[in-house]
C-alpha cells in the first residue's frame, strides 16, 4: 500500500508539467492538424472542411519547393559548419596548452551566440547593404571590387547571405558545447595515444570523435531542427524575397497566413515542418542508439 502511494505521488509530481505541456504544446499541435484540412476565413471565423486540398495545393506550389530546398541547404551547411566545423575547432582549442588561451578563444567564439537573431540579422543586413555595407567596402579595399554584390538584393545570392550569417551566429555556441564534451574525456587516453606515437589528427578521429558521439548526435538534431524552423533572420534580412527566392518553410507559412489570409494552407505547411523535424529527430535517435561509451 505504502509502495503504491509512493508510486502514485510520483505521477502527482509530474502532473502539473504534463498539463502545461498538454495545453501549450500538444493541444495546439493537434489543433493545427485540424486547421490544415480546412479553409479558414479569419474575418468571418468560418472554417470549411476541404480534406487534403491544402496538401495537394502545397505539392504543386513551386514556392513551397523553393522553401523546402532552402531549408535543406540551410541544414546541410549548418551540419558541416556547426557540427563538424565546430567539433574540429573545439578540439583545436582544447588541444592548446595554455588555459588562458583556451578560455579567451572560447569566449571570442561564443560572443556572436549571445546576440539575438533579430539583432544579428539587422547587423548583417547593414554589412551586406549595397550602398554603405561593410562587405562591399572591404572587397573594394582589397582589390576585389569585381565581386561586390547587392548580396540580399539578388535572387542568386540572398539565401546564401542569410545562411552565412546564421553560421556566424551559431558556430560559437556549438564550439562551446563540444569543448565541454571534450573536456570530459580523460586526458590519460590522449597521453597513452601520444606515447604510442599517435598523431593529433588520428587522435581526433580515434579518440575525440567516438567519445563525443552523443553530443554530436544531439547537435545534429538541434541543428537540423533549427534549420527547418529558421524564421527571424530571413524576415529581418529579406522577408523571403526577392521574388520569393529566400523563402523558407516558416516564412512561407507566415506569408500564406498573414499576407494571403490562407490560414488553412499555412497550417498544412506547419504540418510539413513538424513532420520533417520529427522524422529527422527520430532517425537521428535511432542511428545513435548504440551503447554509450563508458570510461
Amino acid at each position: 500500500m505504502r509502495a503504491k502511494l509512493k508510486r502514485l505521488s510520483g505521477y502527482i509530481w509530474v502532473l502539473p508539467a504534463l498539463i502545461v505541456l498538454g495545453i501549450f504544446v500538444y493541444l495546439p499541435l493537434i489543433q493545427n492538424f485540424g486547421f490544415s484540412v480546412t479553409e479558414w476565413d479569419i474575418y468571418s471565423g468560418e472554417q470549411t472542411f476541404v480534406g487534403a486540398d491544402n496538401y495537394a495545393k502545397m505539392f504543386s506550389d513551386p514556392i513551397f519547393w523553393t522553401s523546402l530546398w532552402n531549408n535543406l541547404w540551410y541544414a546541410v551547411i549548418s551540419i558541416i559548419m556547426q557540427v563538424f566545423g565546430a567539433l574540429a575547432l573545439a578540439a583545436t582549442i582544447e588541444s592548446l596548452r595554455r588555459d588562458r588561451w583556451r578560455r579567451m578563444l572560447r569566449a571570442i567564439y561564443f560572443v556572436p551566440s549571445a546576440i539575438s537573431l533579430t539583432v544579428a540579422g539587422l547587423l548583417f543586413y547593414f554589412i551586406y547593404e549595397p550602398n554603405v555595407g561593410m562587405l562591399n567596402s572591404v572587397l573594394e579595399g582589397i582589390g576585389l571590387g569585381a565581386f561586390a554584390q547587392p548580396w540580399l538584393g539578388l535572387e542568386s545570392t540572398a539565401i546564401w547571405g542569410i545562411i552565412a550569417m546564421s553560421q556566424w551566429q551559431g558556430f560559437g555556441y556549438c564550439t562551446l558545447l563540444f569543448a565541454v564534451a571534450i573536456q570530459r574525456i580523460p586526458s590519460e587516453l590522449y597521453e597513452a595515444a601520444s606515447i604510442d606515437g599517435v598523431g593529433p589528427i588520428r587522435r581526433f578521429f580515434q579518440i575525440t570523435m567516438p567519445l563525443v558521439r552523443e553530443m554530436t548526435a544531439l547537435m545534429m538534431i538541434v541543428t537540423i531542427s533549427g534549420a527547418f524552423q529558421v524564421f527571424n533572420e530571413v524576415m529581418v534580412m529579406t522577408s523571403g524575397g526577392p521574388n520569393n527566392s529566400s523563402q523558407v518553410l516558416a516564412t512561407w507559412l507566415y506569408r500564406n497566413g498573414f499576407v494571403k489570409n490562407d490560414f488553412g494552407y499555412a497550417a498544412a505547411v506547419a504540418v510539413v515542418i513538424f513532420a520533417v523535424t520529427l522524422g529527422i529527430a527520430l532517425f537521428q535517435l535511432w542511428i545513435t542508439r548504440r551503447r554509450r561509451v563508458e570510461w
Partner: protein, 440 residues
C-alpha cells in the same frame, strides 16, 4: 498489428483535431451595437493604431491622456504598430477574435474584408456627409470608405504619392521639373553625371516598387479596365499598358537609381535617409513622409525641398490626372460593448484642435478635417500635396491593398522580379493573371 494501431491513432488525432478546431463553425454574431447611444464614460477603450514609433507615437498617447482628463473613468489600451507590422497585428487579432474597439484600416479590399464579415460598425447615422460630425470631413475622404451606400470608417488623414526633390541640386544642374516620364529619365542622366544619386529607391519590402507601378498603370491603362482588373471575377489584365508601365518602371530602376538590380536589398528608410541627407536628388514618397524627410536639421531642409507628381509617359492611354494614394482611417468594432464611447473618442480625436495638431509638425499628417491643413499648421509641401490630391481626377488606391491578397502578392513578387531582372514584364503579367484566375 502495428500499422493498424498507427492508423487508429492517426484517426483519433484527426477526429480530435476537427472537434477542437470547431470545423465549419462560424464566428458567431452578436447584436448590432447602437453607436448613436449616449456614451457611458467609463471603462477601457482599446485602439490599434498605425502610429507606432517616432514621431507619430505621441499623437494618440496625448489624445488619450487629454480625453481621460475630461472623463477620468475612461482609460486606454493603445496598441501602436508601424506601417509594416500593423498588417500582421490586425490579422492576428482578427483570427483570434480579439479585435480592439477601434482599429486602423486602409481603403479597398483591406477594409471590405472587415465590412463584409460584419466586423466594422455601420457609422452612417453619425458620419454621413449630412450629419454634424460628417460635415467636418472632406466628402471624398468619407466616400473612400463607403460601401453599399453606407459609411464605415473615420478617415483620419489623406495621402498621395509624389516625387520629392532637392531644389538645390536641380538649380545647380539647371534642371526644371520634368514634364514627361521620358524627361525624368533624361534628367536622371544629368544628375548621375554630377555625382548624385538621381532617385533613392529601396525595395526590400516590395511595396515601394508597387507604388511606381500603380501610378504608371493609372496613366497607361484606361480607368474602366484598370478597375475591372482589380477584381478577379472581372479581370482580364490584357491591356498593353501593363507591359508598357512595367518596362518604364524597369527603365527608371536601371537609369535613375544607384542600386539598380540590387534595389531589393535596400530598405525604404535607407532611401528616405539618402534624400534627407542631400545625397539623392529625388525620392518617391507619400505626403505622410514629407515632414520626416524635410525635418529641421536634415540637409535637404537647408537646401530646399519641393514635390511634383510622377510625370506622365508619352502615349499614355489612361488617366493623366490620376494620383495614387488614399485616405487612411479607423473602423469601430461592431462587437464592441463600448462602441458609442469609441465613436465619442474618435469625435474628440478629429475635432479641429486635434486635427490641427495632427496636421502640424512633427506629425505632419494631412488631416481629412476641412480647414485643418492650413498655412499656419502645415508645411508648404504638405499643403501643395493635399491641393494636388484634391484637384486630381481620381485617387488610385495602393496596388497591394486595392485587390485581393493572392493577386497583390503576385504583383509584389513580380515587382521584385522586375527590379532584379529575373522576370520580364510579360512574365510578371502572366503570373498575376494566373493568381487572379485562381482567386476567382
Amino acid at each position: 498489428m502495428y500499422p493498424r494501431k498507427m492508423a487508429q491513432a492517426l484517426t483519433a488525432v484527426a477526429a480530435t483535431a476537427l472537434v477542437l478546431t470547431g470545423c465549419a463553425s462560424g464566428g458567431g454574431d452578436t447584436a448590432a451595437v447602437d453607436i448613436t447611444a449616449d456614451p457611458e464614460y467609463s471603462g477601457t477603450i482599446s485602439i490599434l493604431t498605425k502610429f507606432g514609433g517616432e514621431p507619430l507615437g505621441p499623437f494618440f498617447e496625448n489624445a488619450a491622456a487629454a480625453y481621460t482628463e475630461l472623463h477620468p473613468d475612461v482609460d486606454f489600451e493603445l496598441i501602436q504598430e508601424t506601417d509594416q507590422s500593423v498588417k500582421d497585428k490586425t490579422k492576428t487579432l482578427t483570427a483570434s477574435q480579439a479585435l480592439p474597439d477601434i482599429y486602423f484600416t486602409w481603403t479597398g479590399d483591406w477594409a471590405e474584408n472587415f465590412i463584409e464579415a460584419g466586423l466594422a460598425a455601420d457609422l452612417t447615422p453619425v458620419i454621413a456627409p449630412d450629419t454634424e460630425w460628417g460635415s467636418t470631413f472632406g466628402e471624398a475622404s468619407l466616400d473612400a470608405f463607403k460601401y453599399d451606400g453606407k459609411y464605415f470608417a473615420i478617415p483620419l488623414y489623406n495621402n498621395g504619392k509624389f516625387m520629392g526633390y532637392n531644389t538645390a541640386i536641380f538649380d545647380e544642374l539647371g534642371l526644371d521639373v520634368p514634364e514627361t516620364f521620358e524627361g525624368l529619365i533624361e534628367a536622371c542622366g544629368v544628375i548621375k553625371d554630377a555625382g548624385y544619386e538621381p532617385i533613392a529607391f529601396g525595395n526590400k519590402d516590395g511595396w515601394p516598387g508597387l507604388h511606381y507601378l500603380q501610378q504608371l498603370f493609372a496613366y497607361n491603362v484606361p480607368t474602366g479596365e484598370l478597375k475591372a482588373d482589380f477584381v478577379p471575377e472581372t479581370a482580364t489584365l490584357d491591356h498593353e499598358g501593363y507591359v508598357k508601365s512595367m518596362n518604364e518602371f524597369k527603365t527608371l530602376v536601371d537609369e535613375c537609381t544607384n542600386t539598380g538590380e540590387g534595389s531589393n536589398g535596400v530598405l525604404y528608410t535607407t532611401s528616405q535617409q539618402a534624400m534627407a541627407d542631400g545625397k539623392a536628388a529625388m525620392y518617391y514618397q507619400e505626403i505622410l513622409e514629407f515632414d520626416t524627410i524635410n525635418a529641421e536639421g536634415n540637409v535637404v531642409n537647408g537646401q530646399g525641398f519641393d514635390i511634383f507628381k510622377l510625370p506622365v509617359p508619352e502615349d499614355a492611354a489612361g488617366d493623366a490626372q490620376a494620383i495614387e494614394g488614399s485616405p487612411e482611417g479607423y473602423l469601430i468594432n461592431s462587437k464592441s460593448p463600448r462602441a458609442a464611447l469609441a465613436v465619442d473618442f474618435m469625435k474628440f480625436v478629429t475635432n479641429m484642435e486635434n486635427a490641427t495638431i495632427m496636421a502640424s509638425p512633427p506629425y505632419g499628417q494631412p488631416s481629412t478635417v476641412i480647414d485643418a491643413v492650413s498655412a499656419e499648421s502645415s508645411s508648404p509641401a504638405v499643403i501643395e500635396g493635399i491641393e494636388q490630391v484634391n484637384e486630381a481626377s481620381q485617387i488610385v488606391i495602393w496596388l497591394d491593398t486595392v485587390t485581393v491578397p493572392d493577386v497583390a502578392f503576385a504583383w509584389l513578387a513580380g515587382g521584385e522580379g522586375l527590379v532584379s531582372g529575373s522576370m520580364t514584364a510579360e512574365n510578371v503579367l502572366e503570373s498575376v493573371r494566373a493568381a487572379s484566375e485562381s482567386a476567382k
